[in-house]
């Protein structure tokens, strides 16, 4: 689905990352593979360090911490927030929605819109486009897009396929109306027939968690997990990304009538280094225009990897300069989405730690 927006802008991005760091080398012995196999995996996939929450810490805790930081440093006035769009698949509760929990904890005004969007790796662009739509309303001038997950808590310690990539983080993006006559292009795509490619089979209403669903079972690849854990068909996801993402970007750039050379950076979701390199190769984009260093430093935090990527790799540069960014996310759903937007002169673009 092609989307187009006028007179909207991003004015600040803050990423909140847990302090607790785990090294791949320290977890190798949990996996049913030889050390040399795991070292090869580390090298090719770009595994090293990842940041994860301690048990009990939720997305709302990190969002509240980050928003409070923005209030305390006068980067955001709490009375100016007209809407919160929270993109996450690790809700605090089934009822109520996490955005409402955050609104309540921070004592924000009641005259506002709060929405939860259940999206993972493709979620950042979807959250942004939802914010752009809300800003078409006369009385909505500032939208806060919160995006992130704590799904490290749902990955088996004996799953070498998923465990080493998982990281936790949230991001806060401020989106406002703009007086300059800019156009933002976006695209959202959906293929629910691939729902099982990335799934936590139990724990929802379909199959509630029970002693049976927590039983650990080893699969044919040597990974052990239960139905309460995330399971990923890595090859299906890889093929899906290589097949769908390059044409989505070609179409997006075509609509904007620009070439890949006109884009300063392709700030993509980062599942692992290997996938990003193969995408860059297929698209004919140099590695320095498509950063791939987030998983090795922080892990893959689903919808937060794009803003973490922006804060970590562009950071202060975006306070002074303006860049043409192509954002793209892809993953659970299956879902793939993108946004082409000029970003610059930000009020803030940084990472803070969450100590729990």
């Amino acid at each position: 689905m092609n989307l187009k927006f006028k007179n909207k802008k991003i004015t600040g991005i803050l990423s909140v990352i847990p302090e607790n760091e785990i090294k791949f080398d320290d977890e190798m012995e949990n996996y049913a593979f030889s050390k040399s196999q795991s070292m090869k995996l580390k090298l090719i996939m770009g595994y090293n360090k990842r940041r994860v929450v301690k048990e009990g810490t939720t997305v709302s805790d990190m969002c509240v911490h980050g928003l409070q930081h923005l209030f305390d440093t006068n980067k955001l006035d709490k009375n100016d927030i007209d809407a919160i769009v929270l993109v996450s698949q690790s809700p605090d509760y089934f009822i109520p929605s996490t955005s409402h929990v955050i609104q309540g904890k921070l004592g924000l005004k009641t005259d506002m819109v709060c929405l939860d969007i259940s999206q993972a790796c493709s979620g950042y662009s979807i959250g942004l486009t939802q914010a752009f739509m809300l800003l078409d309303q006369e009385e909505i001038n500032k939208v806060v897009v919160l995006a992130g997950d704590t799904y490290s808590q749902k990955v088996s310690i004996q799953d070498r396929g998923s465990r080493p990539i998982t990281g936790d983080a949230v991001s806060i993006t401020i989106v406002e109306k703009s007086l300059t006559d800019n156009i933002i292009y976006g695209a959202i795509n959906t293929d629910g027939s691939g729902a099982e490619a990335l799934i936590i089979p139990a724990g929802g209403f379909r199959t509630p968690s029970s002693p049976e669903t927590s039983e650990m079972v080893q699969d044919s690849k040597g990974n052990t997990r239960s139905l309460d854990h995330l399971v990923m068909k890595g090859d299906d996801v890889f093929n899906f990304v290589q097949r769908e993402v390059p044409p989505m970007i070609d179409k997006l750039l075509d609509r904007a009538n620009i070439s890949k050379d006109d884009v300063d950076y392709f700030m993509f979701h980062q599942p692992n280094k290997f996938m990003l390199k193969k995408l860059a190769d297929k698209m004919g984009v140099s590695y320095d225009k498509m950063p791939n260093n987030i998983v090795e430093n922080f892990g893959n935090s689903n919808s937060a990897t794009i803003p973490v990527n922006i804060c970590f790799n562009l950071g202060e540069k975006l306070l002074e300069n303006t860049y043409f960014l192509c954002l793209a996310g892809f993953g659970a759903g299956l879902s793939w989405s993108s946004v082409l937007i000029e970003v610059g002169n930000l009020d803030f673009c940084e990472i803070i730690n969450y100590n729990n």
Partner: protein, 71 residues
């Protein structure tokens, strides 16, 4: 397909391989090697394979047949 054997040998970390060799007989045979093959066939031959198809092809010859059938 001229570079098939040299490329497969490299992916399997062997000096050379025979068409009759069983895929799971190689020391380097694991899910990462399978993923490397998926990426290789996608970029070099524009052929998309699943891990299951590769596993089921059993031998180097089987793998070659599989790739050729999709070209």
């Amino acid at each position: 397909m001229e570079d098939f054997i040299p490329s497969i040998s490299e992916l399997l970390e062997e000096e050379t391989v025979e068409l009759t060799d069983a895929l799971d007989s190689f020391e380097a045979w694991d899910s990462l090697t399978v993923l490397s093959m998926i990426a290789f066939f996608d970029s070099e031959y524009n052929v998309q394979l699943s891990a299951e198809e590769i596993d089921d092809s059993e031998t180097i010859q089987g793998l070659k047949n599989l790739v050729e059938s999709k070209m």
